[in-house]
Amino acid sequence: MRKVASLSRLAITDEQVALYRHQLSDVLGYMERLRRLDLEGVEPLTHAGDTLNRMREDEVGAMLANEAAMGLSPERTGPFIKVPKVIGDGGGA
């Protein structure tokens, strides 16, 4: 449970570990029914649409002003987004 939480980038409490383990075990137990199907030769279907992605011309269109996007950041210093130290102790995402 802790491994999955960590891969999901979630910090969960001991109480949550117990609750989620119980609830997700129920759900995964239910999913086991899929394994009883004969899927020999059945190709995965990732997308219901029959058409491939359409490409558009690589032309400059309307776009957001820099400030409109940057202004959404919760913490800034001048033109930069502020984050904790990335390199060294305490960093390493």
């Binding site: 980038r9 979630l10 949550q16 899929l34 649409g49 058409t51 995402a93």
Partner: protein
């Protein structure tokens, strides 16, 4: 009053768009404290927009098909004003810098946005209870849920606050609440309506559609929002459905398929009679009812929750507390990883966390084949079941179905809190809706015969499922059933 009657009245000058907007806002003010259908109401913006429409009419401009029609948008739809919260603490203060295509098309058609509708957090829920802004209540019984995840959209329409609303449907989030609130809800074919500006949950399944009180109103809204969009590469490059004139033309001798699997013994007795009532109505109109075998419906929930959660775990990875959204306050010695993990744990509620973890697990090394890939293969089998029902069977001589008829949920609206601590029980409420998204088909929920529970008449929905991109025929059949009831 219906959306079509409002638009006609505004165009004819029977009443002004401002009068209509004021009426809607008064009703929201009176009813919303009890129902909690809206997260934000745009009083000033709505009156200003309505005044513009009245001015346009006064100066002789041609008004759009939705002139002056008050609408609510589910709060996972980005508008360039107000907040777009997605029902989450993560986005509780997020202000989108742009407007979604479907919303812009509604506005261009003359609609007046009254406010943003409450919803299950990130559209994950079947009851409206997972919203950070509190649960929405069912207008028919305030102790019961309105369904979800388009909970506020359904409650706002059912209580008459607005004639139509936009919702999004990833596994039934338009059709199930429409059924539980006694209104009409349409999920268009995947690719029919642009998803640009819709906060992504599961991108291969998400689709925007209308909720309204009549089939005609849903058709009117679909016509306004449908069509190719350069900003969404998955929108189909084909003409939109021409619906307006053709809606009242009945389908001659329609073939209606009823899946053997729709007669599940776990269905509430009211659901059984609502389905029976719809079958009888079609028979009286000269329809041929044929039994179809959607053999893999029983595996739909398992396949859907794996596929949707896997896509969600990837889509929601963007919420990292850095560029936008909630950021946790860090203590001394905490680093970047703490910022990610703590911002996400504080910002996401329990159901969103469960689905992110389920999806992460299903995609993780060693489990990918057993879970995610298996679910995708079952998805193909589900799609084949539908393809077979919509094609003539040369072996048995059975004709191709014009539509498939099913309930929209196995139970009427349940009590608030009844299923909220049991995720699996909640997921099983989606048994009749999820396979339609996995197959990418259009489907519409209509009010069926209500059922009386504890002395209260609770609505129940019946669902018609059509062929891909044949919303025109689906809506004509829906109009027939609506007219028969």
């Amino acid at each position: 009053m219906s959306a079509s009657a409002i638009a006609a009245g505004v165009r004819n000058g029977d009443f002004s768009a401002v009068e209509v907007a004021r009426g809607a806002l008064e009703r929201v003010e009176a009813l919303n404290p009890a129902l909690n259908a809206f997260i934000d109401v745009f009083r000033e913006e709505a009156i200003a927009r309505a005044s513009e429409i009245d001015r346009a009419r006064a100066s002789g401009e041609r008004l759009g098909p939705l002139a002056g029609v008050p609408v609510a948008l589910k709060d996972n739809m980005c508008l360039s004003w107000g907040r777009t919260t997605c029902g989450s603490r993560m986005l509780a203060r997020y202000r989108s810098p742009y407007t979604l295509t479907a919303g812009q098309r509604l506005i261009d058609a003359g609609a007046v946005v009254i406010g943003k509708a409450n919803m299950d957090e990130f559209a994950m829920g079947s009851s409206g209870e997972t919203s950070f802004f509190g649960a929405t209540r069912n207008p028919h019984d305030h102790a019961r849920v309105p369904g979800g995840s388009s909970s506020g959209s359904a409650a706002a329409v059912a209580s008459g606050m607005v004639p139509v609303a936009l919702g999004s449907d990833t596994g039934g989030s338009i059709r199930q609440p429409a059924g539980l609130c006694g209104i009409v809800g349409l999920k268009p074919t995947y690719g029919r309506v642009s998803r640009y500006g819709l906060v992504a949950y599961a991108s291969s399944l998400d689709q925007i559609g209308p909720l309204g009180r009549t089939v005609e109103d849903c058709a009117l809204v679909l016509e306004a929002i449908a069509g190719v969009d350069p900003n969404d590469g998955t929108t189909a490059d084909m003409p939109g459905p021409a619906l307006a004139g053709a809606l009242d033309e009945p389908v001659e001798g329609p073939v209606i398929g009823v899946p053997r699997q729709a007669h599940d013994s776990h269905n509430h007795p009211g659901v059984v009679s609502a389905l029976g009532g719809a079958i009888d109505a079609f028979v009286k109109m000269g329809a041929r009812i044929v039994e179809v075998d959607l053999a893999h419906v029983a595996h739909g929930i398992a396949a859907y929750y794996l596929v949707a959660s896997a896509e969600a775990s990837s889509n929601l990875a963007r919420f990292d507390g850095v560029r936008y959204g909630h950021r946790a306050a860090l203590g001394p010695g905490e680093g970047l990883l703490d910022l990610y993990c703590r911002s996400r744990s504080e910002g996401f509620g329990p159901e969103v966390q469960r689905r992110i973890m389920l999806g992460t697990y299903a995609l993780s090394s060693g489990y990918y084949d057993a879970y995610y890939n298996t679910a995708l293969r079952v998805r193909r089998l589900i799609r084949r079941d539908y393809d077979a029902a919509f094609a003539p069977d040369e072996g048995t001589g059975a004709p191709a179905c014009d539509a498939i008829l099913m309930p929209s949920s196995p139970n009427p609206a349940f009590r608030l809190g009844e299923k909220s601590s049991d995720p699996l029980a909640m997921y099983l409420e989606d048994v009749y809706t999820v396979t339609v998204n996995l197959a990418g088909l259009p489907a519409i929920t209509l009010p069926g015969t209500p059922t009386v529970v504890d002395g209260v008449a609770l609505p129940l929905g019946v669902q018609l499922i059509g062929r891909a991109f044949d919303e025109a025929r689906l809506l004509r059949l829906a109009r027939m059933l609506e007219g028969a009831g």
